[in-house]
Amino acid sequence: MPGRRGEGRHARAWIEGVGCPLDAAIDAVLDHLRRSRNPLFAGLGCDVEGARAIVRLAKLVDASIDHLSGTATGVELSAVRDAGLFATTPGETFARADTLLVLATERSGAAEPLLKGFLATKPRLALARTRRIIWVGRGPAPRAVSKHVDFTSVAVAPSQISPLLSALRSRLARRPVGAAPLSPRRLEATLEKLREAKFGVAIWPSRVLDPLTVETLTGLVRDLNESTRFSCLPVLSQDNAAGVAMALTWLTGFPSHIGFSRGEPEHDPWRFDAARLVRSGEADLAFWVSAYRRHWPPWSSRVPVIALVAPSHGVGTPRARVEIEVGTPGVDHDTIDLLAATGSLAFRPAAVRNGTPSVADVIGRICAGLSAAGRAAG
């Protein structure tokens, strides 16, 4: 909602790299939007309120939205849409899972705190006294593992995760397998541990698995459920990507790749792909939103960009035609976004509340500017 919490007091903005007041930056944005034939909204690193505002604005200016291209969340969602999923919550995994199949690489990112928690605790609601962890990929340092945990390391290269899952699934169906990343004896031993689970959970941090591997894993979990209970916990990536995908889904029916040029929302993963829209020249203006961290899309130099970004704190220079610094959700302003610890949307009050505007504040002012101009023209 625009206009609340004293927004604008600490706003910092630039036009063509030159610092300016927020009002002037908003006017410049309005100017760019009015002249654009086909604006693109991309990135969308923001909270639910920001996503709501972006959909409002995208409708007003007949824009396209590509929230997820090339992101890990996009990979996971597309796998779910193709093949379905067994899923559980971080809470149930923490409290109940007696067996964890962790598919990890060196960088676990947002999954790190969750994985640490699972390694350090025993499941209070499980019948077993210990937690059995099968860690595929490079494992944690031995001292990170609690004495309540029965830890097995299966060291395979990231490229071998998919063949390993396929081999496990084949063996579960008692089909023979040829070359597998593990010896037949270790393969059987690993499978036996999965079979013995009373409530097992497969966990992977986003970015680790490609869509086909996610599908293979879902198939393995589905087959395990014929005789025992097993589920999945994809640990979602940063920037509230999944939270925004949720909001876009209820607001438009789709998580990403949405166009409003024909009135009602349309969905087309090819037509509304950001990189394609920029490369082909169809998009003549890109609106880049990244409130959680400061980063840029690979195509940012090929199209005029309006950016709502996290503060630079003196590092880096303005790169966009118009750049407005926005507050960090949950730090500078109250927010609702997806909490990795619960897997659900949650409210987080501002830690500082210093008046830096939120994405929703800035876009609310842009919408108001467009409507006012519309009224004046009409």
Partner: protein, 543 residues
């Protein structure tokens, strides 16, 4: 002041069916002023006037519904260049379209009946983005460790009551829903079926005991809407016995049984699947404490969205298209399973007929409600066709002619000649739901009522009539004209706040830290979040 002049006013709450004017001022219905001049007047002679309709059970928001949207992009109108004209493709499937489509049919209040308290914030965000209609959620309880442990430790009904009250308040719900009590927990322990007297492993309590404790708690807290129960064994041949046992278990106590059509199956015939709706309707007629909604199946592609995770897991084998999402949640969890009900299918035809039998054989229109259990039996946009089927025996005969004869032989439908009247439709969609939910200022057209009003053309084709209301007023504002939304306003979210001993909140605070390592505030709908959630309105509990 607005005057609706000369319409046929059907207001079952006050026994009215007469030609009369309706006057609106400041969002309420007022008595005709002596010599007063309206600022605006609508000549609606020859039209039908009813209060805005109320849907007590429609899955329109929340995490599971959103997963269903995600899972089925190919059935969204916008995704296909030339989509088939089925109710699911016409649905739009966003919160915005949901509000608009309901309003176009003259509905002004809708209850989302299955929200896990832990994801209540998500559901309320969606409802805040659902325009035009007022909304409410029912909080799903009955499968979570905290409650089952309270019962295992025999902490007594007082503790259960405090817990229920705390969960209602912290999730801002209008009532309590129980979905296959104990079964989601049993499924986590690898049980694959769960009946009324089965025991939840490690907790030592039965489904019957859980439902009974929650029924009593809701009743004693004075929550106007009685416990809303999704029974055990949904969808299974022979499950009429479960429904009958459940009715018997609540001898004299107020209880609402949801989507009873899915529990009206016998085992007769060579396929071992028959309609037992007639038997069930008889039991409902005799049990004056019981209300039901039907959960009518209509033919076509849809998607089932249910927190009955045990049942949904079993249903994955019948998924069409073949993909499903099964969620082991903190409490109930749930499952999203696409489903195509086919006219040529023996089973689906029996289901369709059994629903209509329930409608036609339950005698008292104050105790049976319109639902398709949206979207489980069919999208809510199928209501107009359903109204038409119930109002016209010839239309029913035309439909039944196209169904497999062996399926019809397993039902009593062909022998039922009853035709619903407009007065009965208005009772079931307006007066009775308002009474069931404890909403005193809606569902009727007397002075002081909220000016939620639907005006319909009196068409021969009842489906056509109800699909596109002539005029719809929400809070006295004209929002729909001839089925088209003319103005988009925001509705409110209705909820109850019973009182309880705050000791339970301290206990819950400790519990969340201990079990999940996460503070409880991450699982509730906090007061400070209200600026993101739109307007709430408290419905008083009964003293």
């Amino acid at each position: 002041m607005i005057r609706l002049r000369g319409g046929r006013v059907i207001d079952p709450a006050h026994g009215r069916d007469e030609i009369a004017d309706v006057w609106i001022e400041d969002g309420r219905i007022v008595t005709p002023p002596a010599g007063g001049q309206p600022a605006e007047s609508f000549d609606i002679s020859g039209k039908i006037v009813m209060a805005g309709a109320i849907d007590i059970h429609s899955h329109i928001a929340g995490a599971n519904v959103n997963t269903a949207r995600l899972l089925l992009p190919e059935f969204h109108r916008a995704h296909l260049p030339r989509p088939g004209a089925t109710p699911l493709t016409e649905l739009g499937w966003s919160t915005i379209e949901t509000g608009r489509l309901y309003a176009a049919m003259g509905f002004t209040t809708v209850v989302e009946p299955a929200v896990a308290p832990h994801t209540a914030l998500h559901a309320h965000l969606e409802l805040a983005d659902t325009p035009l209609i007022d909304k409410a959620i029912l909080a799903v309880l009955g499968n979570e460790d905290f409650l089952l442990a309270l019962m295992r430790e025999k902490e007594g009904l007082g503790a259960v009551r405090d817990y229920v009250s705390s969960m209602l308040s912290s999730s801002r719900a209008l009532g309590v829903k129980v979905i296959n009590a104990g079964a989601a927990m049993a499924f986590k322990h690898n049980l694959r079926s769960f009946g009324l007297d089965d025991v939840v492993p490690t907790y030592g309590v039965t489904s019957r005991e859980i439902v009974s404790a929650l029924q009593q708690a809701v009743h004693e807290l004075g929550v106007p809407h009685p416990l809303h129960l999704h029974c055990n064994n949904l969808g299974l041949a022979g499950n009429v016995e479960t429904a009958l046992e459940t009715i018997e278990a609540f001898d004299g106590l107020p209880i609402h049984l949801a989507h009873l059509q899915f529990y009206s199956y016998g085992t007769q015939g060579k396929r071992g699947f028959s309609s037992a709706a007639a038997r069930l309707a008889e039991a409902v007629n005799a049990a004056k404490n019981v209300t039901i909604d039907v959960g009518q199946v209509m033919f076509g592609q849809t998607v089932t969205v249910s927190s009955d995770v045990l049942r949904q897991f079993a249903a994955t084998k019948f998924a069409h298209p073949r993909k499903s999402v099964i969620i082991d949640g903190d409490g109930n969890g749930g499952g999203v399973v696409p489903m195509a009900y086919r006219q040529s299918s023996f089973t689906n035809a029996v289901q369709w007929a059994a629903g209509l039998e329930l409608f036609l054989l339950v005698e008292n229109p104050w105790r049976v409600f319109f639902t398709t259990d949206h979207p489980n039996g069919a999208p809510f946009t199928s209501y107009p066709e359903l109204f038409a089927l119930l109002m016209d025996r010839n239309l029913r005969a035309a439909w039944t002619d196209r169904l497999p004869k062996p399926a019809l032989a397993m039902t009593t439908l062909p022998s039922l000649g009853r035709e619903y009247t407009l007065f009965e439709i208005a009772t079931m969609t307006r007066a009775a739901p308002a009474k069931l939910l404890g909403l005193k200022d809606r569902g009727h057209l007397a002075q002081g009522a909220l000016a939620d009003i639907a005006v319909y053309h009196d068409r021969q084709d009842r489906a056509e009539m109800f699909r596109a209301a002539h005029l719809v007023f929400k809070n006295g504002k004209l929002v729909v004209r001839d089925g088209k939304v003319t103005r988009e306003i925001k509705g409110k979210t209705l909820h109850v706040t019973p009182s309880h001993d705050a000791a339970i909140d301290r206990k819950l605070d400790r519990y969340y830290e201990h079990l999940y390592g996460v503070p409880r505030r991450s699982f509730v709908v906090p007061h400070e979040a209200r600026c993101f959630l739109g307007e709430f309105e408290q419905v008083p509990c009964v003293a």
